[in-house]
């Protein structure tokens, strides 16, 4: 362990009060969220591009900017997912420089949540916690279950009972305790807040939230490095609680401040589904007051958070960077999933469809210019939400094992394609 800690303390985002590096998440004085604070001078003296380049290709190559005290112990292979130049999609959207940050292939559970969970669980182990838990719309539950299993931690995942069956199965298989709550995510969340106060567990998005949330920054760090140590001019991110969007902003700022990237202008845009768009609605109404959505209704269940905890900060981030927010309907989400799949060979879950659909609208309306660099953050794999598109992608054509039938079929297929 280095003598001078890089991760120095927790700090209230509202009033700036300092807190010790424990399993605490809100300020006792104003309930503001606590955030990890670093000794940037110490980080700056240690981290260089060259040093990062010598390290394993995982999110931990940026470990000085992650809130743990010792070497990471959970999720060592997570991150460093591909940043893909999306030429065919760029052509379809009429833009010159487009990239997909492809977290559909994040390890081990195919969503960006593995980033946040590996930080939260590494920190949980440092704090001597033996049982971890979460409130989840699905992806987080999958990741907590898998990473807890490999770390030898007991886990409980609390989810709304009506989640996609593949997301429930994708938690059960790891031998975790899956608790389906008969209610919306916000009710699951509320129960978790009460449970977290009662048991000495590490709830990754409650009392471990300051650690958890920082993991999202690695998506931003990777984008800069993979673009050749350059900031993208425009970044589009889907929003549930709004946390990922604010952490990509923090990542871009930290790398700029540390001189790891040439500081420059960048804009961040948020995407939501019309059936649950509290943050986008506030942006469109030009207010910072987020009106909660009591009953979210969209196929993008992973984004169905009616009371987004980071909504206020997400709005300020978009405003400050000159970005904005957009929303899209369920049919638009499905079309966008198919567009991304057919042009780039990437099968995204519904949340990825939201990002692509909203980016399309932002480009077509001129809010994102066509001749500047654009990154779309695709956060989860389509195999996790197959139910949403099962009737929208056609069916396999059936023939007998007979060459003649095959030839007839191909002839027909070539004529119609």
């Amino acid at each position: 362990m280095d003598k001078r800690p890089f991760f120095s303390h927790l700090r209230c985002r509202e009033c700036g009060r300092r807190y010790p590096k424990e399993a605490v998440h809100v300020c006792e004085f104003d309930f503001g969220p606590l955030e990890a604070a670093y000794d940037y001078e110490a980080v700056g003296e240690t981290v260089t591009r060259e040093k990062i380049l010598t390290r394993p290709r995982s999110m931990w190559r940026y470990r000085e900017l992650l809130p743990i005290e010792h070497e990471p112990t959970v999720g060592l292979q997570v991150g460093f997912t591909p940043l893909i130049p999306a030429r065919r999609l760029a052509q379809r959207l009429g833009v010159s420089e487009l990239y997909i940050k492809n977290d559909t292939v994040n390890y081990p559970t195919l969503s960006f949540k593995d980033r946040v969970v590996s930080v939260a669980l590494s920190r949980a182990k440092e704090l001597g916690i033996d049982t971890v838990a979460c409130a989840s719309t699905g992806n987080l539950a999958n990741s907590v279950a898998a990473n807890a299993a490999s770390a030898g931690l007991r886990s409980f995942v609390l989810i709304p009972a009506d989640l996609e069956p593949s997301k429930i199965l994708g938690s059960l298989v790891f031998g975790t305790n899956v608790i389906g709550i008969q209610g919306a995510y916000d009710q699951v969340n509320r129960l978790c807040a009460e449970v977290a106060g009662k048991y000495r567990w590490g709830f990754v998005n409650v009392n471990l939230r300051p650690y958890y949330a920082e993991g999202s920054k690695t998506m931003g760090f990777e984008i800069i490095e993979q673009l050749g140590w350059r900031l993208p001019r425009h970044t589009v991110v889907c929003m549930a609680s709004g946390s990922l969007l604010t952490k990509i902003y923090k990542a871009f700022n930290e790398f700029s401040q540390l001189g790891l990237v040439e500081p420059g202008q960048f804009s961040i845009y948020g995407a939501q589904a019309a059936g649950c768009s509290p943050i986008t609605t506030a942006v469109k109404n030009n207010t910072e007051v987020v009106r909660p959505v009591p009953k979210p209704h969209t196929i993008a269940k992973s984004l169905s958070i009616g009371t987004p905890a980071d909504g206020y900060y997400a709005i300020r981030t978009m405003k400050e960077t000159g970005g904005t927010a957009e929303d899209c309907t369920d049919p638009e989400i499905i079309e966008a999933i198919k567009l991304l799949a057919e042009t780039e060979g990437i099968f995204a879950e519904t949340a990825g469809g939201v990002t692509v659909a909203c980016a399309t609208k932002l480009i077509e309306s001129g809010r994102i210019p066509r001749n500047e660099s654009i990154v779309l953050c695709i956060t989860g794999h389509g195999l996790k939400t197959q139910e949403a598109i099962v009737d929208q992608v056609g069916k396999a054509r059936l023939i007998r094992p007979n060459l003649k039938e095959f030839e007839t079929l191909v002839e027909h297929a070539l004529q119609t394609s």
């Binding site: 006792e28 004085f29 987080l140 539950a141 807040a193 009460e194 998005n205 709004g242 905890a309």
Partner: protein
């Protein structure tokens, strides 16, 4: 009228570590004012200088967020339970 109020962990130092305390009132505002009388200092944690419930505090009447009801003016009746819950990150 006595109403039970669930206190979140960060505020229990002010309630002698009690998870549930009793308060009086016929609206949420009155309940919060009554909490302040019994546990001085509690109100400023929940409400800002303009007497509005803070941005990062959620107040529930039974299972409903009071922002979906009538905010601070939401009426409470015998048998109701009020919960104060900090906002939570996504999942």
């Amino acid at each position: 009228m006595t109403i039970p109020v669930r206190i979140p962990t960060p505020l229990r130092k002010l309630t002698n570590n009690q998870e549930v305390v009793e308060a009086q009132g016929s609206t949420i505002r009155e309940v919060i004012n009554s909490l302040e009388r019994n546990y001085p200092g509690l109100k400023e944690r929940i409400c800002d200088e303009q007497d509005n419930i803070r941005r990062f505090v959620n107040v529930f009447l039974n299972d409903e967020d009071i922002r979906f009801l009538n905010e601070s003016e939401t009426p409470v009746k015998l048998g109701d339970e009020v919960s104060i819950v900090p906002a939570i990150a996504g999942g």
